[in-house]
Subunit: 128 residues, 2 copies
């Protein structure tokens, strides 16, 4: 079959995606960015949350590879940070979850890589 199967992310990557998307505010952020790209302050006004809070949510989404932020210069020269959604595709089935769980690096004892670990993975798309 010529069908190209989904990228099948690693366990940690899938976990990051799930925890990133598992939040009403972040789901709405993705929804808003699908409609049209915006910058941080405008998006905060649109959704109705504070800038610091939105900043945190955007960081979480970006860390999961679901959105990307670019610092651009507006017409008047002011620097604005625009965000776009990544065209991610992730199929969730018992099999894909099981496959991802096999590569989890979390031993359950709390060896979670919180804030550490440099990841050069800009896109999960080619992961295999």
């Amino acid at each position: 079959m010529p069908e190209v199967p989904p990228p099948a992310p690693t366990g940690d990557a899938l976990l990051k995606i799930l925890t990133a998307l598992g939040n009403p505010h972040r789901m709405r952020i993705v929804a808003a960015l699908v409609e049209n790209r915006t910058y941080v302050s405008a998006l905060a006004r649109e959704i109705g949350i504070s800038r610091p809070l939105l900043h945190m949510h955007l960081q979480r989404l970006e860390a999961a590879g679901l959105v990307t932020g670019t610092l651009e210069a507006a017409d008047d020269g002011k620097t604005v940070k625009y965000y776009d959604v990544t065209p991610f595709v992730c199929e969730l089935t018992p099999h894909t979850v099981a496959r991802a769980a096999a590569t989890l690096t979390d031993d359950g004892a709390g060896t979670a890589d919180r804030g550490a670990g440099r990841s050069d993975r800009g896109a999960k798309e080619e992961a295999k």
Copy 2:
């Protein structure tokens, strides 16, 4: 049978699925149940977590509709609770997330006032 498109869960349902799957232990539970169905105590030993903890995780998974538990009688007559995975299919893309976000009943204000007393919550948005 022709191609059946994914059911497109409601916002709250998808959120439940995502938060249920967004946990290393629960991902491993699904993985273990995909291999072969078991009962609670055996599963707890297999994964290496306590029974009360596993019980909570299973409840969360069952509440999201990802697994189902059935109280059965073993050969010797002892009652055992077996768990099976539901053959769920959920496609995660910017579009599906956006579509689901539109039906979220969480007003983001923390007020668990599901679907009641609807009024303009964005009153302060235009106050600028």
